[in-house]
Amino acid sequence: MKKVFLFLSIIVFSLVTRAQKDDHTLTFDGIGELKLGLTKAQLEKMLNTRILLKQIGLTESFTETVKTMYKGIEFELDLMRNDNVVAALEGVSTTSPLFKTPEGIGVGSDQLTIINAYEKDLLIISYGSITYTNINQIHASIVFVMENKKVVKVIVEPTAMFRDRE
C-alpha cells in the first residue's frame, strides 16, 4: 500500500512539475514564462544565452526588438531601456499556437470567437489586428494579429496609456 502511495505521489509530482515547466498561458503579464518587466539579465538566465543589443546603449534608441528561441519556440522580445537596468522586457510576441488565454484564444482563433469571448471588455479592431484590454487590468493589452480573420500572431504589450506614462 505504501509503495502504491509513493508511486502515485511521484506521478502527481512529475505531472505538476511538467505543467509548471510548460507554461502555455497567454495573459496580460506575458506569454508563458516570458513576463513583462523581466530584466535583460533575468532573460539571459532563462534563455541560457546572451542578448546582444545593437541599439540600446549604443545609439539614442530606447527600444529594441530581438528574436529568440525558448524551449524550441520562436519569440520576439521588445526591450526597453530603463533607468535602473540596461533593458527590460516591454513586450513579447509569438506565432506559436501553443499559447492560449484562459478563454482558449490564441493563434488559429477567429475574429468572432474573440469578439464573443471578450464582449464585456475593450476591443479595438483596426487594420489587421484586434487589441483586447480587460476593463479591470488596463496596464497591458493582448494584440491578436489577424490574417483572413484568423489570429496569426499574439503580442502582449503595455496599453498606450501606460506606455506613455513611462
Partner: protein
C-alpha cells in the same frame, strides 16, 4: 405515392426557401432605401452637418435654439440643444468655435438621435445588434466596449447594460458611434474624433 409525397415536400421546401430569400433581400432593400434626409453619416444627419455654426442651424431650422446652459453665468465653452428635424428628435452638441472671426459663435461638433426614422447609409438603426454593425463596417477601424459611467465625483466605472461601438475611417476625423442598451442599438451619434 411515397415518391409523389417526397417530391411535393421538396418543392414545398424549395418554395419556402425562395420566399425566405425574397424576404431577406427585400429587408436588405428596405434597409438600403433610406432618404438622405434621414441618413446619419459621420458628417451629420441630412442637412445638419458637423462644423455648422449655431446661426446657420437656426436659419436651417427656422427657429432659435434653446441651449441647455443658456442661463448659466460665466464662460460657456460647450453646450447642448435638443431639436426636432424631419420629425426626428436630435440632440446637438456645440462647442465654442476656435475660428477668430466667430469667437462668440457656437459650432456643432456632434449630434445624436434615438429616432427609429434615422438610419445609417448601410441601413442600420435603432433596434439592430452588434453583429449587424460589425458586418456592415468590417473594413473600418472599430472601438467597442462597455460605456464609461461616473460612479461618483471621483470614480469612473463601466456600465453593465450600455455598450458602445465606434466606427472610424482612414481619415480619423469624425466617427459614428452606436450606443447599445441590452445588446440593441438605442441611439446613434456622429461626432468629431477626439485626439489621443
Amino acid at each position: 405515392m411515397k415518391n409523389l409525397l417526397l417530391l411535393f415536400a421538396v418543392v414545398l421546401l424549395f418554395t419556402a426557401c425562395k420566399d425566405s430569400d425574397k424576404q431577406t433581400s427585400s429587408e436588405q432593400k428596405d434597409k438600403k432605401a433610406v432618404s438622405p434626409a434621414y441618413t446619419i453619416t459621420k458628417d451629420g444627419i441630412g442637412d445638419l452637418k458637423i462644423g455648422m455654426l449655431q446661426s446657420d442651424i437656426e436659419k436651417l431650422l427656422k427657429q432659435s435654439l434653446v441651449m441647455k446652459h443658456a442661463k448659466d453665468t460665466g464662460d460657456i465653452w460647450s453646450d447642448t440643444a435638443t431639436v426636432t428635424y424631419n420629425k426626428m428628435e436630435i440632440t446637438l452638441y456645440f462647442q465654442k468655435s476656435y475660428v477668430e472671426e466667430h469667437t462668440e459663435e457656437m459650432e456643432l461638433f456632434g449630434l445624436s438621435t434615438s429616432s427609429p426614422l434615422c438610419k445609417t447609409s448601410t441601413g442600420l438603426g435603432v433596434g439592430d445588434d452588434r453583429n449587424a454593425i460589425l458586418a456592415a463596417y468590417e473594413d473600418n477601424p472599430i472601438n467597442m466596449g462597455p460605456e464609461s459611467i461616473m460612479l461618483n465625483d471621483t470614480t469612473w466605472g463601466f456600465s453593465k447594460t450600455n455598450y458602445y461601438i465606434t466606427v472610424s475611417d482612414e481619415k480619423w476625423d469624425r466617427q459614428l458611434s452606436f450606443i447599445l442598451v441590452n445588446k440593441k442599438v438605442a441611439s446613434i451619434e456622429a461626432i468629431l474624433q477626439m485626439g489621443d
